[in-house]
């Protein structure tokens, strides 16, 4: 049996554990044994993109070590998967010993939808979602990992689901990690443009594969009073989209 180590990501761990369980369900249904290594916290991207290279490297070493012995590593995030696949090897460019380990981890690491479609190539268990959705490509999924067709292929198999594309699906939502709090006015302006694009589709639900984008777009949609529900794609694919969507009342 294929053993998959789940890189939960900090935002899923803290903000929306349900996405982690949806990922586990999808992987198990696809015939994988899922392991969640304890020594994981975050991929280190906030430090890396803030210029704190030393801390980023320390966190990267911790991740590399924790995930050393598994067939595959899967993250329900293009951003964190991109960090591990592209930036870990770059971080250790001058350190051959760690570079080998970073390259090895990079080869084994995949974003969730890409892993299901490209690596496992299995038909996911049938799921049902009644409604019209639109899909936001995270910048890291789209441009760092070239993921565009995979989530759409999976959504195409969900019964009852109709996909309406955004007018500018390649546009950033304005999250940008710490950018969104360092330059909040600019971030909000970019998020407003994304929210307008989402609202214009008329879709009842917005899906994406990255919690950062989802929190940002949900926050802006709700501030503007739009009724669009916002969820991680894994929730819909796993048939676990019954509970409150992001930012909705929970009791």
């Amino acid at each position: 049996m294929t053993t998959v180590a789940l890189f939960v990501t900090c935002l899923v761990d803290l903000y929306r554990p349900g996405v982690g369980f949806a990922s586990v369900k999808l992987l198990e249904e696809a015939g994988c044994e899922v392991v969640v290594p304890e020594a994981q916290t975050c991929c280190g991207q906030p430090a890396y993109n803030s210029g704190d290279r030393r801390d980023a490297m320390a966190i990267a070493r911790q991740v590399i070590t924790a995930f050393a012995d598994f067939d595959y590593v899967v993250a329900p995030s293009g951003s964190c998967a991109g960090m591990i696949k592209h930036h870990y090897p770059a971080l250790f460019a001058g350190d051959p010993q760690w570079r080998i380990k970073a390259d090895d981890l990079a080869r084994r690491t995949h974003e969730l939808t890409s892993f299901l479609v490209d690596v496992l190539q299995v038909e996911p268990a049938p799921a049902r979602f009644d409604g019209t959705v639109t899909y936001h490509d995270s910048c890291s999924s789209l441009r760092e990992l070239g993921i565009q067709a995979q989530p759409r292929a999976l959504l195409g198999k969900v019964e009852g689901l109709a996909l309406r594309e955004l007018k500018t699906p390649e546009a950033c939502c304005g999250f940008g990690g710490t950018f969104c709090v360092k330059y909040p006015e600019i971030s909000t302006e970019i998020a407003s443009r994304k929210a307008a694009d989402v609202a214009a589709t008329g879709a009842g639900t917005l899906l994406a594969g990255d919690m950062g984008c989802l929190l940002n777009i949900a926050g802006r949609l709700q501030r503007e009073g739009h009724a669009v529900k916002v969820r991680h794609i894994a929730e819909v694919l796993a048939g676990m989209a019954d509970g409150p969507a992001i930012g909705e009342p929970q009791s």
């Binding site: 939960v8 761990d13 801390d55 950018f179 006015e185 929190l215 802006r220 009342p249």
Partner: protein, 470 residues
């Protein structure tokens, strides 16, 4: 040009509140993007050409000294002069002494970002020489007494209505809102200037080593009039404009206009080689190339060398969400957008320009469209690292990152702390599902609701279920 890059935050805030600017900028995020896409899609070898263009510049930069010397020999062979200038001040003095040699009163100018960089216009004005911009966009912003806000569309921040107001005020003619009429009006006002000017100054898109030529690409033909009618033609060029051969230039030209405006070629591609010969029907009596270093040679052989491949097409800013939101002036110096965010810290110092590389979501679209494949986000990250090392970033941000990293490196401590924080946030927010405002989260909640967490952490729930952890 005096920098206000350190005031980026305030500049950006003002820009976001400027509704006319918002109207004017709306074309950048749509027209430029669509046109580039169509041009790239129409050329099957476009991606291959980008690789070739990148390789040409890499090769040239690796032996730049040889190409520069060859270029000078060829310029001299054709009766021209090359002036080697280490910095902006030397370049300004050189231009002034050439102008004074013919007692110049007015100077016509083709578009030159390097001219902006070295501040040639205010310098000439201070020395009683009147510079007249002849590119339409540059002419407009000269009337408005503003710097360019885009490297190929300098007046893109102006609406047609604002331009009509400017023309009415300066030309003393009836106000028109017809685009063609406005262009004709500017053309009529500029006409005599070409004949009156003693010196014509242009920039250069390329310097060709094998022939000693300078090359400009324009869409209005103003550059040709600027450089052929006056007695003296001065070319302002920085050292990275060199290409070894005409063939090399032709390759890069094929990606330049397509990336910039979506044209296959700009309307005019004009090659200047030396001064007027006896048999030439027209041309300048003197041909001067003011070759400027201004920090470029210091980038050679460093992680910044990739920046010297830039051909100033503007594709990066045309595709940048930050540029779309705030426009070019907010960046506070000559080069806005992603190229400015990567280049300005090198030319101004990271202390002055640290906001620019920080104000990016790293969405990666700039790198995706850069015809010269400059790794712009990587270079911005380099500057963030420098700012972090030099303690330039705000103390709060540094402390928050270091404190968070301290926890992230200690999973047990991290879990204890985050579990408590998430429990609290969930308890406070679950009923409404989100927060309108929250202490310490003002950066987020000023423009967005903050969703409340779902409750419990994944790791705690996984452990409670007895899930496998090794």
């Amino acid at each position: 040009m005096k920098s206000t890059a350190h005031g980026f935050k305030e500049n950006a805030r003002n820009a976001l509140q400027d509704t006319q600017l918002r109207d004017a900028l709306s074309v950048v995020g749509t027209n430029f993007i669509v046109k580039r896409r169509l041009a790239a899609d129409a050329l099957p070898e476009f991606e291959t050409l980008r690789d070739e263009a990148t390789a040409i510049k890499n090769r040239t930069l690796n032996e730049l000294d040889l190409h520069l010397e060859r270029f000078e020999r060829k310029v001299v062979e054709h009766g021209g002069v090359v002036h080697w200038c280490i910095d902006a001040a030397a370049a300004r003095e050189t231009v002034l002494s050439i102008c004074r040699s013919v007692n110049a009163k007015t100077v016509t100018k083709g578009k030159s970002m390097l001219g902006e960089e070295i501040g040639i216009n205010p310098f000439l004005e201070a020395n009683n020489i009147r510079p007249i911009e002849t590119d339409l966009g540059e002419y407009i912003i000269q009337l408005a007494d503003e710097p360019p806000s885009h490297i190929i569309a300098p007046a893109v921040h102006k609406t047609k209505s604002q331009i009509a107001d400017l023309f009415e005020k300066h030309h003393k003619r009836p106000r028109s809102m017809d685009g063609e009429a406005l262009v004709a009006e500017a053309r009529a006002m500029l006409r005599q200037s070409y004949f009156d000017a003693d010196v014509g100054i242009t920039g250069a898109n390329f310097l060709v080593a094998e022939t000693g030529s300078s090359v400009i690409v324009t869409n209005e033909g103003n550059g040709d009039l600027t450089q052929t009618l006056p007695k003296i033609h001065i070319v302002l060029a920085s050292i990275e404009k060199l290409v070894p051969t005409f063939e090399d230039m032709a390759t890069i030209l094929r990606v330049l206009a397509r990336s910039a405006t979506g044209q296959q070629m700009s309307v005019y591609t004009t090659v200047s080689t030396g001064a007027r010969r006896a048999e030439d029907p027209d041309g300048p009596e003197q041909y001067h190339v003011v070759l400027i270093d201004q920090g470029r040679s210091a980038m050679l052989g460093t992680e910044l060398q990739d920046l010297l491949r830039c051909i100033r097409c503007g594709a990066c800013m045309n595709h940048c969400p930050i540029y779309h939101a705030v426009g070019g002036h907010a960046y506070g110096w000559v080069y806005p957008g992603p190229i400015g965010a990567a280049l300005d810290p090198a030319l101004l110092g990271v202390a002055e320009a640290h906001h620019l590389p920080n104000a990016s979501t790293f969405c990666g679209r700039c790198e995706e469209v850069c015809p010269m494949r400059i790794p712009l986000p990587k270079i911005m990250r380099h500057w963030r690292e420098r700012a972090f090392e030099d303690d330039i970033q705000p103390v709060m941000q540094r402390t928050a990152i270091r404190w968070w990293a301290f926890l992230a490196r200690r999973p047990f401590l991290y879990r204890a702390n985050t579990r408590l924080a998430m429990w609290l946030l969930h308890a406070l927010g679950k009923t409404r599902g989100r927060f309108k405002s929250l202490p310490f989260a003002g950066g987020w909640t000023a423009g967005r609701d903050l969703p409340a967490p779902q409750g419990g952490t994944f790791h705690a729930q996984w452990a409670a279920k007895g899930g496998r952890t090794k």
